[in-house]
């Protein structure tokens, strides 16, 4: 399905001309399309980096100054050293966790978008499946994880399934919401063009729903990381969640923090992959910059 890419350059209406364009006496001068995007001040781009570095320095200095034992709070340098020394182990444990997140998330994205469409278009589906889908969200996932382990074993399937259960709901809901946002007059316009419901869906409803669908996928991706850790807490013999429990049992706080750092990195990277893939479908200028969804762990 092709959804047109727009040129992302931001033009201010004021620049194009007066608020009321007059019929051009000759020809409106073709405005240049090569304006640079409004760039943030160079320093502003590094605000977040500077803030992070400052926090790390305070952390490091505080731990040294008050001689906090590594069991309570390891210094950033200690965590880094642990990460480096155990790099092959961390790498080996990052891979299964990442795979669980990705497999679960992809199934959640496909199922969430599909179910969202189904519930949105079929009143039968809305009256039969929708209540079931809602109640499936009210069951605490942590509570049913042991049952899922019994059903699917301790392999990838059970964990991906838990990831899926946690991640699909926001994707489904935001797909439904997105498909409903189309204005009544817009539908009238399409009717008067003789558009079939398929055409209306492909050219109007689906592209209009994309920003919502992607917002839902971003929340879903954040939750998918939580889902993978929950699954590994319940039953696993590998993965960062498993290692978190193991290191905690050994009172190995630097090991725990090392795993947390890696989980955060994985979560942020995956989140930004979703964010970035959104730009393939939606003109950058239309994406709201203020997005409340954040990678979380």
């Amino acid at each position: 399905m092709s959804i047109e890419l727009g040129n992302g350059s931001i033009a201010s209406a004021e620049r194009i001309g007066a608020a009321s364009p007059t019929r051009a006496p000759a020809r409106a001068p073709a405005p240049a399309r090569t304006r640079p995007r409004r760039a943030a001040s160079p320093l502003k781009r590094f605000y977040s980096v500077i803030a992070t570095v400052v926090v790390l320095l305070i952390w490091q200095g505080g731990v040294r100054l008050f001689a906090v034992p590594a069991l309570i709070l390891p210094a950033p340098s200690t965590i880094l050293a642990t990460l480096w020394v155990r790099r092959s182990l961390y790498l080996a444990f990052s891979i299964p966790t990442t795979v669980e997140i990705l497999v679960g998330f992809f199934i959640a994205a496909i199922a969430g978008i599909f179910l969202g469409m189904l519930v949105s278009f079929s009143s039968f589906a809305r009256s039969t499946f929708y209540p079931m889908l809602i109640s499936s969200q009210l069951v605490p996932k942590v509570a049913i994880a042991p049952v899922l382990i019994i059903w699917f074993g301790t392999g990838l399937e059970a964990k991906a399934f838990i990831v899926f259960l946690i991640a699909f709901f926001p994707i489904m809901i935001s797909t439904m919401v997105g498909l409903e946002v189309v204005e009544a007059d817009m539908l009238k316009l399409f009717h008067s063009m003789g558009a079939s419901s398929t055409t209306t869906f492909l050219k109007l409803r689906l592209p209009a729903a994309l920003p919502n669908i992607f917002a839902g996928m971003k929340i879903g991706m954040s939750l998918a990381v939580v889902g993978a850790i929950v699954a590994e807490f319940v039953a696993a013999d590998r993965g960062l969640g498993y290692y978190l429990l193991y290191a905690n049992g050994q009172l190995d706080s630097p090991g725990v923090f090392g795993a947390l750092v890696l989980l955060t990195v994985i979560g942020v990277v995956l989140y930004y992959i979703v964010e970035w893939s959104q730009r393939l479908f939606i003109p950058a200028a239309l994406i709201k910059s203020a997005d409340p969804t954040q990678a979380s762990m």
């Binding site: 959804i3 316009l189 050219k203």
Partner: protein, 279 residues
């Protein structure tokens, strides 16, 4: 421009004077069922008779909620008549009638499509030849003073410019009938005047049949060959006034006694039907 006019002549049947009206409404009314249980049905439009000749510019004026938009929906077949029948070009309207263009109060441009692509949506949905449609879209955009803006996104244009794009979209497939539902109501007064003038000039060369809804009686008199004055809810036709002023009408015409006689007449009707309360 010449190409546009000739393409119009080639594709639309020219209806000779004295032939059947292009649009014919007979005893058309609309009643909505109440949403509340035991609630009374809501009569949106009382039975209406109206004939619109090909090439005529008919404006429909009335207050909010008087059934103007309902009337337009019934002509376009976007909702079904409770009583009576709407006919266009001799055929009964049953279901959405597609051989027309509609312009709404909101421009309804798709924000993810460029200006050109927004005009071309009309061709895509109808399955028209892409190359010819593109050529016509570029011509139309040039005609409304938007040459050079083809690759812009809607949010980069002002409200008046966007509404011009919406008009281009409504005309892309060269429909014999153009329906406009308060197309300039959302614009500021100066932009509205400009668009009114520009649209009048366009229409004068084009002579397409236009049904134009407005709550602005000055706009109604200024543009219309005939003004259909509505009664308050439940709407019906209070009176149809022929405007005997030659086109093109300059803006200054609005300040002349001739013009004022028409607006005064409409005011009178508004007071008589209770839309306006006189002291």
């Amino acid at each position: 421009m010449e190409a546009l006019l000739s393409s119009r002549l080639a594709s639309a049947p020219v209806i000779a004077a004295g032939a059947e009206p292009l649009v014919s409404l007979r005893n058309v009314s609309k009643t909505y069922g109440s949403r509340r249980r035991n609630g009374a049905d809501i009569e949106a439009l009382r039975p209406v008779d109206l004939d619109i000749e090909a090439g005529e510019f008919v404006t429909i004026v009335g207050p909010s909620g008087c059934g103007k938009s309902t009337l337009l929906s019934l002509i376009a077949g976007l909702s079904s008549c409770t009583t009576g029948d709407a006919h266009i070009g001799g055929g009964r309207v049953a279901g959405p009638y597609t051989d027309l263009g509609i312009v709404f109060q909101k421009d309804l441009l798709l924000p993810w499509r460029t200006i050109l692509e927004n005009v071309l949506i009309q061709a895509e949905v109808r399955g028209l030849n892409r190359r010819r449609a593109t050529a016509r879209a570029v011509e139309l955009l040039d005609l409304v003073g938007l040459a050079g803006f083809e690759q812009f996104l809607p949010h980069e244009l002002s409200g008046g410019m966007r509404q011009r794009v919406a008009i281009c979209r409504a005309l892309l497939h060269d429909p014999p009938l153009l329906l406009m539902d308060e197309p300039f109501a959302a614009l500021d007064a100066i932009t509205r005047d400009q668009l009114t003038l520009d649209f009048q000039r366009f229409w004068q060369r084009d002579r397409r049949t236009v049904v134009f809804i407005t709550h602005n009686l000055v706009e109604a008199v200024f543009l219309g060959d005939r003004v259909v004055v509505m009664t308050p809810r439940p709407g019906g036709i209070a009176e149809i006034i022929g405007i005997d002023l030659p086109h093109p009408r300059p803006l200054g015409l609005r300040d002349t006694p001739d013009f004022a006689r028409y607006t005064a007449r409409i005011h009178e009707i508004f007071i008589k039907t209770g839309i306006l309360k006189a002291d």
